[in-house]
C-alpha cells in the first residue's frame, strides 16, 4: 500500500511517541506500507523551508520509502519558484498546500504560481480542505489547471462536505478524493466507489499525525471488491507518480 497523504515530525498541541522518520519506517515495515508521500508538519506550520529540508533528509535516508511533497507558504510567494526548482532537483514530486493552517484562501493569488507549476509538470498538488467552501473552491481552481492532479485533502473533512465533494468531483477528472481523516465515517468508502468508481480515490492517513493502522483497517473492512481496494490503497497513487514529469 501507499500512503499519499502522510507527514513527518511533531504537532504543537498534542502528544504522541515518535514521529521521526525512523519510527515511521518501523511501523511501515510492520504493516507492509511500500512508501509514504510526506510533508513535514513544521512545514505546514511556522517554517516551510525547514520542513522541506526535513523531508529531504528522510528521502535521503530511505529513498525507497519516502516521496516528498514540496510544502509552500502563501506568505512567501516570491520564493516559490526557487523553492520548487531546488526541491524538484532533489527528487521531490508534488506540492503540499495547507490553506487551513496558513489561513489563506485556496483561490488566493499567492497560490497561483504553485498551480501553474503543477500544471506544467503534471504534478499532484495536495490541498488541505475543510468545509463546503473549500470543496467548491478547489473544484473551480482544478478546472483551470487540467494537467495538474488536485488531491482534495480530507475530501472536505466533515461528512456533509465529503458528500458534496464526491458529487462535484464526479465530472472533474483531475480531482482525486483523499480518504485521510480522523473520523473515518463508516460507509463513506462504499458511497464514494458507488458514485465515482475507485480510480480517483486515494488512500492517506496523516501519519504520524494520526496512526496509519485504523485507516488501513477501515479500507480493508469496507464492502467493496478487492480490486477496488487495491486501486485505493496503491494503484491510483502509483499512476499519479508515474505520470508526473
Amino acid at each position: 500500500m501507499i500512503d499519499a497523504h502522510a507527514h513527518l515530525g511533531k504537532w504543537y498541541n498534542f502528544y504522541y511517541d515518535g514521529g521521526d522518520f525512523l519510527s515511521m519506517v518501523k511501523i511501515m515495515d510492520r504493516i507492509g506500507m511500500e512508501f509514504a508521500w510526506i510533508s513535514a508538519l513544521i512545514g505546514i506550520g511556522p517554517d516551510y523551508e525547514l520542513g522541506n529540508e526535513m523531508v529531504f533528509e528522510a528521502m535521503n535516508a530511505f529513498p525507497d520509502r519516502f516521496k516528498g511533497y514540496v510544502t509552500l507558504s502563501p506568505y512567501f510567494a516570491g520564493k516559490m519558484e526557487d523553492e520548487l526548482k531546488k526541491r524538484a532537483s532533489q527528487g521531490f514530486i508534488g506540492i503540499k498546500l495547507h490553506p487551513g493552517t496558513h489561513l489563506y484562501p485556496i483561490d488566493g493569488v499567492n497560490y497561483l504560481y504553485a498551480y501553474k507549476y503543477a500544471d506544467e509538470h503534471r504534478w499532484p498538488i495536495l490541498i488541505h480542505t475543510w468545509g463546503e467552501r473549500d470543496v467548491r473552491t478547489l473544484i473551480e481552481v482544478a478546472k483551470s489547471y487540467q494537467n495538474a492532479i488536485f488531491i482534495m485533502g480530507h475530501s472536505g473533512g466533515d461528512l456533509k462536505s465529503m458528500l458534496l465533494a464526491v458529487d462535484l468531483a464526479k465530472n472533474v477528472d483531475n480531482v482525486y478524493l483523499d480518504l485521510t481523516g480522523s473520523a473515518m465515517y463508516n460507509g463513506i468508502i462504499e458511497y464514494y466507489v458507488e458514485r465515482i468508481g475507485s480510480d480517483r480515490i486515494l488512500f492517506g492517513t496523516d501519519f504520524p499525525f494520526i496512526d496509519p493502522r485504523p485507516a488501513i483497517g477501515w479500507v480493508k473492512g469496507s464492502k467493496i471488491s478487492e480490486g477496488e481496494k487495491l486501486n485505493i490503497l496503491k494503484n491510483n497513487a502509483k499512476r499519479i507518480l508515474n505520470s508526473a514529469k
Binding site: 498534542f14 510492520r30 499525525f209
Partner: protein
Amino acid sequence: MREYFDFNVMIGKTTVVTIDNLLDVNKLNEEMNRFNIKRALVYHSYSRDYDAYFGDKKLVEEIKDCPNLYVTWTLLPIDIFPINASDKLLEELKINNVKAVRFFPDLHNFLLEEEVIGDLLSLLEEIKIPILMSPNSTGWKDIYSMLKNHPNIRLVLTDLTYRQSSYIFPLLKRYKNVYIELSGYITFLGIETLYKRFGGERMLFGSNLPYKNPGSTIFYIEKADIPEEVKNYIAYKNADRLIQEVSL
C-alpha cells in the same frame, strides 16, 4: 481469527441520517459475523436522541433473543429519571440484566456536579457497573472532578480522539478503574504507548458502530507491537471481566 467483544455499539434510528449505515439487531449480527465479534455491549439510539428510559426499555425488548448482546442503559440524574429511588433503580437494573450505563450530560442537559449526580455515582460505584461516557459530551474538567469525588467508579472513556493523551495519561496513572475504549484513540503508536505506560488491562476494543467500521480498531490491535496475549485482553478478556464483575 481472534474473537472480539465490542464495548461500543448503538442500534436504532437516529434523527440525522447522512449515510445509510444504521443498525437493527439483524444488521448488527451480520456486521459482528464479518469481523468475528462474538459479543457486544449495546445502547439504543432512542435513549440518546429521544427519551432515555423509553430507549432503554426498547433496547431490552429488541435484543431479548440475542444472548451475545448485552444491555447498556442510558441514565439521567436520579431526580429526573422515571425510576427516581435508588432501591427501585437497582431492582430495574437487575431485572433488565443491565451490564453497563451511559451518560450524555451535554446532550441531555445536566451537570456532572456532585449535587446533581453524586447519589447516582455512589450507587453505580457500589455495584461496580461500567459507566461509559465520552469526554466530548461533557468536558475533561467534569470528568476529572467526577473521579475526584468517586475514585472507584468504573469509567470507560469512549469516542476519544487522537489529541487527548494529555488528558488521558494522568487519569490512567491515578485511577485504576479508568478504561479506554479504543475506537477513537487513533493517536500514533497509541496502543503501544498505553501498554508501555499502563499495561494492557485497561484498553477495550470498541467499534463505535454504526458510525465507524470495526475493521479500523481491529487492524490497529492486530498490528500493534505488543504481546499476543495482551491483544486477547484488549480484544475480549478485559471486557468479559468487567461484565462479570458487575454485582447486581
